[in-house]
Amino acid sequence: MSDWRQVTRRDFVRDSALAALAAGSVRFSFAAEGDKSLVALVRDEKAIGAGNAVDAATVKKMVEEAVKAVTGESSASAAWKKLIKPDDVVGLVTTTAITPTHAEVVAAVTEGIKAAGVPADRIQEVQRKKDAAAQCTALISIPGLKTHRLTGIGTVLKNYITFGSQPARTFHGENNVKLGSIWLEPTVKGKTRLVLVDALAGAYEGGPQKDPKYVWNYNGLIASTDPVAAETIALKIIMAKRKAVKGEEWEISPAPLCVAAADKEYKLGTSDPAKIALKAIGWEKDILISA
């Protein structure tokens, strides 16, 4: 990367310095609407009920709507078949910290993958299991929606941090700008078929440890085959939530430089809102973002 170490608050606010970062790697194939990356945001007020009980049937429907929207297929079965082949070895990459991926989401995804013809013994959870991830031919990333005081945002890009060839702390603080590099490592490169952010609950501040005062029920899922577009939408939702809570702009620290860098430097997808088609489905109350 050319000069990200020189980035200051002035550059970040102007959003210009990162545009000058160097280029030259691989761009994946993404679901798109026209020339835009497609992100589906599916919400249902029944997803989480009293006592934070998750309605598994509702979540299953939400996952189905999400994959249908991302693939453009009319049935969930066809959608999963478009994402996953019967001979794939599939790794599910979930989140365990702060806002853990809900078991109901994982169950719905697993069911969909099975419907695509993959037997159960070729579907496994691979978070923090680098060797297992390396054996997979397809990955479904299912991170929880959250900030992180060491990386700014801790949702999509950070979800592969344990697959890097360097320790996680290598990417903390200002070095969060390099998180996208992990997605180009052999363990995961080119394997991600779907990013499905579990936004049933989100954390709009804090991390690495859970602080309940910053966790809210958003009742949503964010889906895309473009990880950067999914992260960009996740970040916009978090920023909108922070503004709603504080009544004024409330910036994230450290600055989530990783999002723009994943686009400009690592060519993993787009962070430009003008190049993202957001398809919002379902419950609109407190959606915090407009399609």
Binding site: L150, H172, K213
Partner: protein, 304 residues
């Protein structure tokens, strides 16, 4: 003498104590049961500066950014609700407060020397210990258990030390009490506010810093005071900050240096002895200037 009395208190108190890490005072230990919750194992999971990264899924720097000695973790179970107790031993009471000050938002529940509680999570400091007790699900019963655990642990440690003296430099008028932070390093500053990728304020384990937010209607601003080991290092930091962040901007001359960023926000600097004061996050030049002038610094620099 204080240690002798304290040792007697410990010997007369119910419950077990753990051996000290270094031959000093024993480490606190929670009771076997608390309400309906039972301790899964009396022996804590002992976390070191090396293993904290694994314990926190690769993230331990926000504790290591203070003088961290070790962490003991216990877990209680009852039905589906787990209560996790974390006892962080720091080198000094100032750093124990510093860890708490990463986030002072919450209900003061009067436990330890300073505490905050929200939604099942109790955080407090006592002496050179910082505690974090979390009930995965908050109910009236789990709240009571968490608070009782906090009281039991706080009772095992002498109240010693106090908030860092540097905090007294922050002007009182308009200061939002829960916005106060005490820290040392660039990593901590960067987790609170982003000035630059580079460590342009030259922060390190040898620097002490306090930060706070001010609301003086209708304006607001934040103030950062950094205490450097020497006047020379403070001057180098000021020059670095000015050179990197205020380059090509019109800056008023010392002693109060003010500049307006392209965003419309004002930033102000004041260097005095080994102290560098920065006013920022403000739309008001007047408030920046007022806050910078309101900070009272010793003429003898590092001596406090």
């Amino acid at each position: 003498m204080r240690h002798t009395i304290w040792t007697l208190v410990l010997l007369l108190s119910p419950g077990a104590f753990l051996m000290a890490r270094d031959g000093n005072l024993p480490r606190p230990a929670p009771p076997d049961t608390i309400g309906a919750w039972k301790l899964s194992s009396p022996e804590p999971q002992a976390i070191t500066a090396e293993s904290i990264f694994e314990y926190m899924n690769g993230a331990g720097e926000l504790y290591l950014a203070y003088a961290f000695r070790g962490l003991d973790v216990w877990r209680y179970g009852h039905q589906d609700t787990t209560i996790t107790v974390e006892a962080y031993e720091m080198d000094s009471p100032e750093d124990a407060f510093g860890v708490l000050s990463q986030d002072l938002g919450g209900e003061n529940v009067g436990i330890g020397q300073e505490s905050v509680y929200v939604g099942g999570l109790l955080r407090f400091w006592q002496g050179r210990w910082f505690f974090r007790i979390l009930a995965e699900t908050e109910t009236p019963e789990s709240r009571a258990a968490v608070l009782e655990l906090g009281r039991a642990l706080a009772a095992q440690i002498p109240a010693e030390g106090r908030r860092p003296k540097l905090l007294e430099r922050l002007p009182r008028e308009g200061l939002t009490s829960e916005s106060i932070h005490y820290f040392h390093t660039h990593l901590c500053l960067n987790s609170l506010y982003f000035f630059a990728v580079e460590n342009i304020l030259q922060l390190s384990e040898q620097t002490n810093a306090v930060m706070g937010d001010y609301h003086l209607d209708p304006q607001s601003a934040s103030l950062l005071i950094v205490q450097y080991p020497s006047t020379a290092s403070a001057t180098i930091a000021r020059d670095s900050f000015r050179g990197k962040l205020l380059a090509n901007l019109a800056v008023t001359p010392e002693p109060i240096e003010l500049a307006r960023l392209e965003s419309g926000e004002w930033i102000g600097l004041r260097l005095e002895g080994c102290y560098l004061v920065v006013a920022f996050r403000s739309r008001s030049r007047d408030l920046c200037e007022r806050l910078l002038k309101a900070v009272i610094l010793t003429k003898r620099g590092a001596q406090q």
